[in-house]
Amino acid sequence: MTTTKKSVLTAVFIALCVVLPMAFHSIQNAGSIFLPMHIPVLLCGLICGWQYGFITGIVGPVLSSLFTGMPPMAYLPSMIVELSVYGLVTGLMMKFVHTKNLYADLYISLISALITGRIVAGIARALIFARGSYSMAAWATSYFVTGLPGIIIQLAIIPTLIFAIQKARLIPARYTK
């Protein structure tokens, strides 16, 4: 994929970081259940690479906060940390993991990113953003219990989306038969 295409795709994923949560917020509780802003960031890392995923993870929530007021400014720093790690790790894992099976690569990259992002965001909250008022229980509840349906749905939606995008020949195939 050319640099220009990667840049334009990254721009579209950033725009989706603003639009998708808006589309979901009109559906009751969908924002907290589906974590819609995570999907474009993870996809960007998987399709365009770690640099682009990292940029989407930083710029996406900032633009969304400026344009729509969501996420609120108080949650923005920890969300930037979480999403940028998602974009970075998915991109790096896709670069280094080659099992010759697209779905295996995708799941390995996604699961590593979802775990690393939550750990790094938890550490950032405990040490910087909510110093002294953050516990292990609060971290586990906010990142794994509340967001569990979101995690399951992301693991189901993202490989399907990548497959659909590849089938539509909008991105080059990772493995040719």
Partner: protein, 261 residues
């Protein structure tokens, strides 16, 4: 109510439109900082008055400026109610089951809602008075020093600029897709999680495919016209006129006032 797509530029002739985009960006950041640090009634009145003056000076019709807030009405109501009902406080006014209404909770709800409203008003004012091209050039110019640490400022600004231009387009398309899927029988309001997930899939996949198809077409058009990513942002000299100075002074004064109150 009149609906303006998010982030849409409105090409009027006004004092705010004519101010240099770099100055507008710096002033915008100062005003956002003011919104974050304020927590007094006087502070909110000062910032709301500033937003009102900026909207009048930029000649954006109030109906259009407020349409962005109207779109968020349910979100604003929900965050107010959540704060009012679940805020832990010693001075509880009414208590029932898990809900506790307290004066502090209501105040907290008002604070959060006001902050979101003010940020929205200022960002509408910035994006409606500054074209995406000007905004990108301003970002490039402000981030210029980052090129010394090998950060591709030009490319990042180009990405941000395209993203800002894509927001209204994709937003309209998402709305159309949602209406089309509802017409085909999708039930987004279902209470069952599995049903809700299935229906959301019908919303997410077409939105992504259509957005990526647009990106593909744009990239192809750019490459066909010989576009190469520019990593070195151009150097632009900044000549400050009375308008720019006035903008700086007002934003700095509002920010300083919030720190002092």
């Amino acid at each position: 109510m009149n609906r303006m797509p998010l982030g849409m530029y409105m090409p009027f002739e006004s004092v705010i439109h004519s101010i240099d985009a770099r100055v507008k960006l710096v002033c915008f950041l100062a005003l956002i900082v003011s919104v974050i640090i304020t927590d007094t009634l006087v502070g909110y009145i000062v910032i709301l008055s500033t937003a009102f003056v900026f909207i009048v000076l930029s000649r954006i019709p109030f109906k259009i400026a407020l349409s962005c807030l109207y779109r968020l009405r349910f979100f604003l109501i929900i965050i107010f109610v959540m704060n009012a009902l679940f805020f832990t406080s010693e001075n509880i006014l009414v208590s029932w089951w898990i809900f506790n209404i307290s004066k502090e909770g209501i105040l907290q709800g008002v604070h959060v809602v006001l902050r979101v409203v003010l940020v929205m008003l200022f960002s509408t004012c910035l994006t409606a008075t500054t074209s995406p091209v000007e905004l990108t050039k301003a970002l490039e110019s402000l981030f210029r020093p980052l090129r010394y640490v090998k950060i591709p400022v030009g490319q990042i600004c180009m990405i941000i600029s395209i993203a800002i231009q894509f927001i209204p387009v994709i937003s309209q398309e998402a709305l159309l897709i949602k209406q089309a899927q509802t017409a085909r029988g999708a039930r987004f309001e279902s209470r069952r999680l599995i049903e809700k997930a299935k229906e959301s899939l019908a919303l997410v996949i077409p939105i992504f495919l259509s957005a990526i198809r647009r990106a593909d077409e744009l990239a192809l058009a750019m490459e066909a016209r010989g576009y190469r990513s520019a990593n070195t942002p151009e150097k632009r000299s900044l000549k400050l006129s009375l308008r720019e100075y006035a903008g700086f002074v007002v934003s700095a004064a509002v920010c300083a006032l919030q720190i002092m109150i």
